[in-house]
Amino acid sequence: MSDKRRFEIAIYLAFFALIMCAPLLLDPFWLNRIAKYLVFGMLGIAVALSWGYAGILNLGQGLFFGAGAYMIAMSLKLASPTSLQQGSDKPVPDFMLWNAEPGAPTELCCINKASFLWLPFQNQWFGVAMGLLVPIVIATVIGVIVFRKRISGVFVSIITLALVLLVRLVVIDAQPITNGFNGLTDLGWFKVGGFEFDPYIVPTYYFVAIALCLVLAGARLLIETRAGLILQAIRDDQNRARYLGFDVPLYQTFFFAVSAGIAGLAGMFYVVVSEFASPTFMDLTFSITMVVWAAVGGRSSILGACIGAIVINMISATVSETQGFAEAWKVIIGLIFVLVVLYLPRGFAGLAHDMLDSFLGHRKAASSHTAEVSDASQLAE
């Protein structure tokens, strides 16, 4: 194993240890905040995988995040006490009741024309399964169409950007079943067995933290596989890879879908810790913000993009609450982005990488120097 590999493993382990120790230092309010930022870290991983490794700049990652979030939020909405009004034992979301036409039956099956879609979500695990499946299926369909047609580069970005805006519009327009602009609020808690994940307790933090560690390790190992190397080859030169016999669209679609799955997972965890899902998840600014996190952290480093997302959000939370900085912060983050793109195209992870290289290089040079000196002294003897 090379020195560099050992270093990398050490840095990953240090990161795992750090986020595992956080509950020792933080009060419940901050713990919940950090849990949200860890979820954003997961999104950073998704962006790094598709942008840094597959070369697909997805400007609509929020689509997958939002899909995951809405799917689990539907289940948690039905599990919420607010859905059991009027002494009924069959849950109906409160907003459906408020907006029901006079005389409509107050049952989930038929309170409005599309409410039956909610029926299977009474089972929380159906929501979880859909939270993963819907993003993956959407990504696969997009991938098959876009990549088979050999659309690449900025055109993929434009298509994904248009798609997230389209879906956002549909979600807002489907007000009877999505609660439109207001999104799904007053959600119940996620339950496993008899345990309820109250967003402000330590076990919930660990639930998110462990998931992040698993996703991080999984994504890093995925890149390490043959398929991961071939994916990077495709990113560098699609044509060359094609003439070496690789089914290029298959690789792009696969990793695009994996990235979408991670974003969907992040969406679900976000709902668990923040107790709402809203169309703002599919705002353009949010999808672009994710790209900024990954760019600053380092898009060609899974851990770099993840840390970038967490740290930017932590700084952002602290600074924007300081009087006088609230508005200036947006300018500062914009400046940081511009500077990073200009001077650190591989982000802070790239910088760390280069520093490590030169450090290891120096050490090697130093050790070979001592070897020469000892050779020389042997000769002298």
Binding site: L222, E224, T225, R226, A227, L229, I230, Q232, A233, R235, D236, D237, N239, R240, A241, R242, Y243, L244, G245, F246, D247, V248, L250, Y251, F254, S300
Partner: protein, 249 residues
Amino acid sequence: MAQTALTIDGLGVDFGGFKAVDGVTLTVEDGELRVLLGANGAGKTTLMDLVSGKTKSTQGRVFLHDTDITNWEEHKIARAGIGRKFQIPSVFKDLTVRENLKVASCRNPGVLPNLRFGFGKQANRDVDQVLELIGLAEAANRLAAYLSHGQTQWLELGLLITQNPKVILLDEPTAGMTQAETHKTSEIVNSLKGKHTLIVVEHDMAFVREIAERITVLHLGQVLAEGSVEQIETDPKVRAAYLGSKGIS
């Protein structure tokens, strides 16, 4: 009589009325090295595009041994056993030289079978051999982006050798090379003779003399002449169309 590796039968393409390649018929035997000559616009690169699947033909057929590969998708043609080097050298710039070759050594085109670690001992040995052959053993851990132009060309040749196709199409492998680099390239190409069937498009006459066995001359999308270097040199039609009055020198 050796077996026929590649059969091109009446192949042509019509770009909206303009026939860049017009009914070319050509057979190349197993282990043969065939040079394609022709003036600019004679259809050499287009012919390679048609064989490798980059451009879909509008007439004729291509056979690799007995398999009809006409108008297959590129990666399927590549898997069937046709490798191609591009005129503009293309390698994977953000991977190291060794990683480039590892990618080429991968025998499985799909994603799921490749979700595993390592490329196997045999692949590593093959990669080491190819590194020696193309003279990049010292640079094995360097990013391909930092190679010189000549080294990049050799790396792309190395990718093809690692891929190990039956038929190799080389489009101007010495373009932009110094004399010394050209000489080394001809050594690499000569070492492939016999093991692979090669079709080479080239303008550099010194290089052609170093490697050529048989030459096919294309002119305006059609086959003008075929034969050894001497036959081509003395063919009056070729002289008129391409070589001018001075011959190959």
